[in-house]
């Protein structure tokens, strides 16, 4: 039964889910924008982030929301290694090689997670309980917290990009990589920082995901594709684009689940993605593609 208040609630929860996707997509988008690299194993970084936060909260007894920091740091470190030892070797060669490296990483991350944490699904225990109700519409406190955290992280990223020296170098690299080197900027350092930053965002998204949803090692593939769909919706390489795309996606996904039922949310988003790509390959808000 579809009711107006039910629909409104669906939209609100969609926005909350969208926030997690925004974080994931922003990471993918930054990496793509600066390095022109597509990391198809991005969703696996989210999964690893969820497990790191899970371990921190179970083993160290950390508050679930503090464990986000552990996830960010841990996944950023993994990102450093991944950039240095795998992607750097194929950067600038055939684009298909990036897909192959990603696939190798997917196999490694998923199975490493199975080895370390097993095949069963897990969820991070949150200190927040219950729902906030406002005029017939209710939403869980965890989702409200997630929205707040995402806003804080995004503002920090925007500050980093606009006001710091490394942010300046990242923006320069995203526009002209050769000219950036001529400014005396070590582009390899920019790349490794960018990848670690993107990975940290995926880690944070993973921790938030793990607080709200149950997860397992096989979680990774769909989030990657969703993040990809979002940055295409919003325009490649743009953070505001990732925000708008993420919100649209979260709402579309949740509404599809509400209106059409169980198995449709994943598929409907791809239908949306394909339709957008067919009509405007650079995304709804994207300018001319590079």
């Amino acid at each position: 039964m579809i009711t107006p208040s039910g629909l409104a609630e669906t939209l609100l929860w969609g926005v909350a889910n969208g926030c997690i996707y925004i974080l994931l997509a922003a990471g993918l988008s930054i990496i793509f924008g600066v390095m022109k690299l597509v990391n198809f194993a991005h969703g696996q970084l989210l999964m690893i982030g969820a497990y790191l936060a899970f371990t921190a909260s179970v083993v160290l007894g950390l508050n679930a929301y503090l464990s986000i920091l552990v996830a960010m740091g841990g996944v950023a470190l993994i990102g450093l290694g991944v950039e240095r030892f795998t992607f750097r070797k194929v950067l600038g060669t055939d684009k298909l090689n990036e897909i192959f490296v990603s696939l190798g990483l997917i196999y490694i991350f998923e199975n490493a997670a199975v080895l370390l944490w097993g095949n069963k699904s897990a969820q991070i225990a949150s200190p927040l309980h219950g729902l906030l109700s406002l005029g017939g519409i209710s939403i869980s406190y965890d989702r409200i917290a997630a929205m707040g955290i995402v806003i804080v992280i995004l503002l920090s990223i925007i500050f980093l990009m606009k006001k710091t020296k490394i942010g300046l170098a990242m923006r320069a690299t995203s526009q002209k990589s050769d000219a950036t080197q001529l400014m005396g900027i070590n582009i390899e350092k920019v790349y490794i920082f960018t990848f670690a930053l993107g990975a940290a965002l995926a880690g944070a998204a993973g921790a938030l995901y793990g607080i709200i949803f149950p997860f397992s090692p096989a979680l990774g593939a769909l989030p990657t594709i969703k993040a990809f769909a979002i940055i295409i919706l919003g325009g490649l390489g743009s953070i505001p684009g990732a925000v708008v795309g993420g919100l649209l996606y979260g709402i579309a996904e949740n509404t599809a689940g509400y209106v059409l039922g169980g198995i449709w949310p994943d598929a409907i988003a791809f239908v949306l993605l394909i339709v957008v790509l067919v009509i405007k390959p650079t995304g709804i808000f994207g300018g001319k593609g590079d």
Binding site: L96, I108, L222, F270
Partner: protein, 347 residues
């Protein structure tokens, strides 16, 4: 079709008869043909050799796509569509199974044409994403119409030829034909256009190649052969289920083609032998791995499968980074090295 007969009469085909590589391939084919006579085991023929051949077709279809500079992360969609279409045609409409197999391939190519019309102008990674998304959509649609199709629980596939040795030779004949066609395409003008697009799309465009058209042709051909492979695969495991749309099956041809050697005709064949053998025989070391490393990872009851899968990932990374042309190139290099030694000894 006329293009194909033209190809067979062309100079390229006659020059093919004189190349050393051609005889190696013929030797390999002869070897595969006589193999069942020496292997008595029904299991090996049905569960190892037949899948090897089928996945060689499947990986070759992916390889042809990559030959034109495109990538797909959702080829399982076409494997599955081919499998479901050929099985359903035979069961629901009473089409002879062997006709169903080809119509299944055509059906897959038809869907490929629709996806391709919309998406081939996209860059490699967009197409990879879209195809992945399409495999999710295909899974959803087949599940949605479960009352008609019955794909969630799965159903038995109709018999084309008796199991065992007849099926092996049937698969072999289709594989040989498919791979020959793919080879001829790669060596034809069409293949030259694919290669030009892969090397430098902009330049290809400027020399007057209609890149969109050729990318679409590559995509449709690739989905056709993926569909044929799907029909054969469903036949070989005797039933079909929506799990055929699993990302595992989308990643498989990529793994096989890359490890074997991308862009070469023999790469997917060699890769298929390697990957299917690993799949079939390596589980035997699982008890050993469990004894060795089991205590380190108490979270899993059997550490074998994840460790083996991880190693596959590591091998893929090593191949891409250190031997981007695959195992085939290593074999060729070794061969050239040995030859050079001989030459140096002579004077």
């Amino acid at each position: 079709m006329t293009q194909l007969t033209g190809l067979l009469n062309s100079k390229k085909f006659t020059s093919l008869l004189h190349s050393k590589r051609f005889y190696f391939i013929m030797l390999g084919l002869a070897f595969i043909a006589v193999l069942p006579m020496f292997i008595g085991s029904e299991y090996v023929i049905g569960e190892v050799l037949a899948p090897m051949i089928i996945f060689a077709i499947y990986a070759s279809s992916w390889n042809l796509l990559a030959y034109s500079g495109q990538g797909s992360l959702g080829h399982a969609a076409f494997l599955g569509i081919g499998g479901f279409a050929s099985a359903l045609l035979a069961i629901k409409l009473g089409v002879p199974p062997i006709v169903g197999l080809f119509v299944g391939g055509l059906f897959s190519a038809g869907i490929g044409l629709l996806i391709g019309l919309a998406c081939v102008r996209l860059k490699a990674w967009f197409l990879a994403m879209v195809t992945f998304g399409f495999s999710v959509i295909a899974l959803t649609l087949i599940s949605q119409f479960d009352s008609v199709i019955g794909g969630i629980m799965g159903f038995a596939t109709p018999l084309i030829v008796p199991r065992g040795i007849p099926f092996y030779y049937f698969t072999f004949a289709i594989a040989a034909t498919s791979i020959l066609v793919i080879y001829l395409v790669m060596k034809s003008k069409l293949g030259l256009a694919f290669k030009a697009i892969r090397e430098n799309e902009l330049e290809a465009k400027m020399t007057g190649i209609n890149t969109g058209k050729y990318r679409l042709i590559a995509f449709v051909l690739s989905t056709f052969f993926a569909g044929i492979a799907g029909g054969l695969y469903a036949e070989s495991i005797r039933y079909i289920q929506v799990s055929i749309f699993d990302p595992y099956y989308s990643f498989l041809p990529l793994m096989i083609a890359v490890i074997g050697g991308l862009g070469t005709i023999e790469g997917p064949l060699i890769g298929s032998v390697i990957i299917v053998s690993i799949d079939a025989y390596l589980p035997r070391i699982d008890p050993f791995l469990q004894g060795l490393m089991g205590p380190l990872f108490p979270a899993v009851s059997n550490v074998g499968p994840p460790i083996r899968m991880m190693m596959l990932g590591v091998i893929l990374l090593l191949v891409v980074i250190f031997a981007p042309k695959g195992i085939t190139s290593l074999i060729n290099k070794t061969y050239a090295y040995l030859r050079r030694d001989k030459k140096e000894v002579k004077p």
